[in-house]
């Protein structure tokens, strides 16, 4: 079933949409989530949340690229899950405990300053990625957005792993220079 047909199921509110989308994209989303969480159980939970999130969002959302849309959801949910887990692991000392308690006082959402900084960083990243020539851009996004293993990328692009490693190393250096030039500090 192609993505257009899957979208039709979502818009028709047919519950089979979830089964179909999970069957088609489970492997893809699994690899993203597992690369972040590294835990089978957490990944399962995250994938279930991904399908649910998509079900709740479509419609009205009408993503033009379903795989990218699901990939982004999975990635964000996995990052959140990882943060949650890390926070749970803390708590060994009173300091950790207090930090954890104080986190509850922090209002949800970004502050104005944070939002501006994030927007600036996002714009700068986009400028940098757009400036990369074809294959390099493809490799950068596969590695840092899809979290693809280097060997996987190397095979996909018909290069040696060391070549890909070297390209990524140079791109990271270039990104560092680019961010510094833009006056962005993290």
């Amino acid at each position: 079933m192609n993505d257009r047909q899957i979208m039709e199921l979502f818009f028709a509110r047919a519950e089979s949409a979830i089964a179909v989308v999970s069957q088609k994209y489970e492997g893809y989303c699994y690899s993203i989530s597992y690369a972040i969480l590294g835990d089978e159980e957490d990944v399962r939970e995250c994938l279930n949340d991904t399908w649910l999130h998509a079900w709740n969002a479509i419609p009205p959302a009408k993503p033009e690229n379903l795989s990218l849309y699901l990939g982004k959801i999975t990635r964000n949910l996995s990052i959140n899950q990882k943060k949650k887990k890390t926070a749970q692991k803390r708590g060994g000392t009173q300091h950790d405990l207090i930090l954890s308690e104080l986190e509850e006082c922090i209002p949800a959402g970004e502050g104005v300053e944070d939002a501006m900084e994030n927007r600036e960083l996002k714009n700068s990243l986009e400028v940098f990625i757009r400036s990369l020539p074809g294959e390099k851009r493809g490799i950068f996004v596969r590695r840092y957005f899809l979290l693809r293993p280097i060997g996987h990328i190397a095979r996909e692009f018909g290069m040696s792993e060391s070549k890909v490693t070297s390209m990524l190393y140079r791109m990271r250096n270039a990104l560092k220079n680019h961010l510094e030039k833009e006056g962005i500090t993290l």
């Binding site: 033009e64 964000n76 990052i79 996002k122 851009r137 957005f145 070549k163």
Partner: protein
């Protein structure tokens, strides 16, 4: 925390930008045709390499071997064991297999299928799979680079045009090559020529490649240029910037470039001169090689 922020922000990039980047596939490279299966190519190359070894053993010139190699046009015919839908289902099934049930056998099967799919996509995209990399031992003379690389390759990733370079490797072998590259404006390198050889168990397999006159002219010392085939030692190579596991080489073969052809080896003093980074290792490797393959060394040197 800083890298986490950067990582998180990459996930929020513009959809069009990401989609466009993910649509980018490998550049189209040298054309290939599709006739033989991957297994057939591997078998063919086994014969080719063993044949090459025998040719050398019979004191037939490298040119002969080279010409034989160049007349071959390894070609791929895809015999797909799974349809796209079957593979998709298989991939999902594998992803759903609990980790504890992922036996070595299952993993190998999955790896095999996955590799075959990549091979298919390469074949469909009509480009060969070639290897090159510059190590810390590369030399740059202002316009060209003589670099060395080392790659463990698998037969299933074998595609080769054999018209511009012998990028023909073989199953489960450690293939070693020396590449001569020309930098492009964007910092990437164009492979001008690849010189290659390999070590398979107790047998050294060599596939010397002639170097064109124009390439030889550009080399630093055209009259006496050593080309070194290297072997992965598993040790880190320390550069000015970092210790990197990808630069872990040791010499296994030494060849002299004379009149455009790789002809001989054994002059260890020259090898030390060639690479002053680790002379002890180089000498030790050369001595080990000479001890292990005395007949070869005598013959090549003779």
């Amino acid at each position: 925390m800083k890298s986490e922020k950067l990582f998180e922000m990459i996930g929020k990039l513009d959809d069009d930008l990401l989609a466009q980047a993910l649509d980018i596939s490998a550049k189209k490279r040298i054309p290939i045709r599709k006739i033989l299966g991957g297994g057939a190519i591997a078998a063919c190359l086994t014969l080719l390499l063993v044949g090459g070894w025998m040719v050398m053993g019979q004191r037939v010139g490298y040119r002969t071997f080279l010409e034989a190699e160049m007349t071959r046009d390894p070609i791929l015919a895809w015999e797909d064991p799974l349809t796209d839908a079957e593979y998709s289902a298989y991939e999902i099934d594998y992803a759903n297999t609990p980790v504890e049930e992922r036996t070595q056998e299952k993993y190998e099967e999955f790896h095999c299928y996955a590799t075959l799919r990549f091979q298919k996509s390469w074949a469909e995209a009509n480009y060969p799979y070639y290897y090159y990399y510059l190590s810390g031992r590369s030399e740059y003379d202002g316009s060209r680079v003589v670099g060395h690389r080392n790659e463990e390759v698998s037969g299933t990733s074998l595609l080769s045009a054999s018209r511009t370079g012998p990028e023909s490797f073989i199953d489960n072998m450690l293939a070693d090559a020396c590449a001569i590259l020309t930098p492009r404006g964007d910092g990437s390198m164009v492979v001008e020529e690849v010189l290659w050889g390999a070590l398979d168990g107790e047998t050294v397999m060599l596939a010397p490649q002639a170097v064109t006159a124009s390439m030889q002219k550009d080399l630093k010392d055209p009259a006496r240029q050593f080309v070194i085939f290297l072997h992965d030692t598993g040790k880190n190579w320390v550069t000015n910037e970092a210790a990197m596991g990808i630069y872990t080489y040791q010499t296994v073969g030494l060849f002299e470039l004379k009149n455009g052809v790789l002809e001989a080896c054994t002059d260890l003093a020259d090898v030390v001169r060639y690479d002053g980074e680790s002379p002890e290792d180089m000498v030790e490797a050369g001595m080990a090689l000479a001890k292990k393959y005395p007949e070869l060394i005598a013959e090549l040197a003779g």
